[in-house]
């Protein structure tokens, strides 16, 4: 158990390959603010399979060198403003993917194999951009045509927010098992969590089924409401008013900087 969110953020080195879940999963937004406050640089973000406000903020704050994702989406709020600006300006390297290929790459890392075959994709312009995807064939020759072979994706860090964790270092994520694969695939996983579970999550058969074992987790810290202003499945909805204000402010670089000043730099990271 780490002391606070800054101690957790300190474990993400500059240049790290960091896997992040989408806004409907478990977003460690407080940790993202701590990373921006620390001024982390040159991150290679992987959206699993897409990324939302976390990605937009880190890009806006200049923390990102490379973005690998199937999409950047902030749902009903519109196009991600900092991401859109960065693409236009060419300030980040973009690696466009497709959801099942990102999952497959992580599953390959989970299984310790160098690649995983994926259906579809052939004929998409995505394929031409990727030197980590190849077209191959079914070696058993069942003649169902070409397959795409996706290279394993091994994040240095998986960064997530969980509703619950226990003193043994286990974290509960319920059915949001993309975070389980992310934890298995990554070299280490950093977790913020809302509430301390009083007991051993693995000792309760019902809780265990949705728990990432401590085995995969390199550091945890409690941050109540740690997904804010994004929502957390089963716990709380997104802070609509705040997110609309973000969208409004982030329309310009200056506005985004004002947002960061007010919400990241001038405040304690844990709201």
């Amino acid at each position: 158990m780490l002391d606070d969110i800054d101690a957790l953020a300190a474990r993400v080195p500059d240049g790290a390959k960091v896997a992040l879940p989408p806004d409907y999963s478990g977003c460690a937004m407080a940790a993202v603010r701590a990373l921006i406050k620390r001024g982390v640089r040159d991150l290679h973000l992987i959206g699993v399979p897409s990324v939302g406000f976390q990605g937009d903020m880190l890009i806006g704050a200049g923390c990102v060198a490379t973005l690998e994702t199937a999409a950047v989406t902030i749902g009903e709020y519109g196009l991600a403003p900092c991401f859109t600006r960065a693409i236009k300006a060419g300030t980040i390297k973009m690696i466009d993917g497709t959801c099942p290929a990102i999952h497959a790459g992580l599953q390959a890392a989970e299984k310790g194999i160098p690649f995983m075959p994926v259906r579809g994709i052939v004929g998409s312009d995505l394929l031409e951009q990727r030197d980590d995807w190849m077209v191959g064939n079914d070696p058993f020759g069942d003649d169902q045509g070409p397959l795409v072979l996706v290279k394993a994706i091994t994040p240095d860090v998986t960064l997530i927010h969980a509703p619950l964790a226990d003193r043994h270092g286990n974290a509960w994520i319920g059915v949001r098992r993309e975070m389980m694969v992310m934890a298995h695939a990554a070299k280490t996983t950093l977790v913020t969590f809302d509430k301390l579970y009083d007991g051993d999550l693995l000792a309760d058969a019902e809780m265990a089924a949705g728990t990432i074992p401590a085995l995969y987790i390199g550091g945890l810290t409690q941050v109540e409401n740690g997904a804010w202003p994004v929502g957390l499945f089963g716990a709380y909805p997104a802070d609509d008013t705040h997110l609309r204000a973000y969208m409004e402010m982030a329309r310009t670089e200056e506005g985004f900087q004002a947002y960061v000043n007010a919400n990241v730099l001038d405040r304690k990271a844990a709201e």
Binding site: T69, A70, G75, M94, G120, G123, D125, L126, R177
Partner: protein, 248 residues
């Protein structure tokens, strides 16, 4: 008897008709109208239609995280899905990436999501884009996120079934790789559709009007469907149905 209805209600009703009789419909991110259509079809199915909606907690039968939708499609267990496109061309190629030269596109869309996969594997992919302009419906997309058709040697049980816009419905002819205008929504005209469509398509001599939703359909949409969709799309439900059931 005709009732007045909103454009969103017509679209929900029109799409729902394409889902009747299916077993399992899945809905991706940011898709309130397809989601509403699936929930309407489910309400009419007597419970036999399963709906799996990304981002929903109430309408989601998945328990294996982000991979399950894709695995499930590959297993042949998903009958229909929806895709949109920042650009859609006459061969049903879709572009979810951007306009201009990749990667530094002058307009950037969110990204391809699962389109490059689901378009191949789900038998009935319904293309849906409310905006029907030459800017969206183009002769040729700038970036193919997912192709409309594939060479015969490509494993492709799935593909485009129809294109629904704010003005009309197109069917898709896979053999010809061409759309065919099927019906024009009430209040719109064939000429207007032709003007606003950037791609070439087949146009029969007589094109009907998209059927208006029946009174009982509207009642279902405004009642049960509005309540159910509000869980995942509260802003949409509030705007269209004045539904504030899920307001925080």
């Amino acid at each position: 008897m005709t009732a007045t209805f909103q454009p969103e209600e017509l679209l929900i009703s029109t799409i729902a008709d394409m889902l009747d009789g299916l077993g399992h419909v899945a809905i991706g991110a940011s898709s309130p109208i397809p989601g509403g259509a699936a929930l309407l079809a489910r309400a009419r199915s007597g419970g036999s239609l399963r709906v799996s909606m990304l981002g929903s907690e109430d309408h989601n039968a998945f328990t294996n995280g982000g991979t399950e939708l894709f695995d499930c499609a590959a297993q042949g267990r998903i009958d229909a899905f929806f895709l949109g496109g920042g650009q859609i061309d006459g061969a049903a190629n879709i572009n979810l990436v951007g306009i201009g030269d990749y990667p530094q596109t002058k307009v950037r869309f969110p990204g391809s999501f699962g389109s490059a996969y689901l378009y191949f594997l789900v038998p009935r992919v319904i293309l849906f884009r409310e905006e029907h302009t030459p800017r969206v419906l183009v002769p040729k997309v700038d970036f193919i996120s997912a192709p409309g058709t594939s060479a015969p040697d490509v494993y492709r049980p799935g593909g485009p079934y129809a294109l629904v816009t704010g003005r009309c419905v197109f069917d898709f002819d896979k053999a010809q790789a061409r759309f065919r205008l099927k019906s024009v929504h009430p209040g719109h005209t064939v000429e207007e559709v032709a003007d606003m469509t950037g791609f070439d398509c087949d146009q029969p001599d007589r094109v009907g009007e998209t059927p208006a939703p029946a009174a009982e359909t509207l009642e279902l949409i405004r009642g049960r469907v509005a309540d159910e969709i509000a869980e995942t799309y509260p802003a949409f439900a509030a705007r269209v149905f004045n539904n504030t059931a899920s307001a925080a």
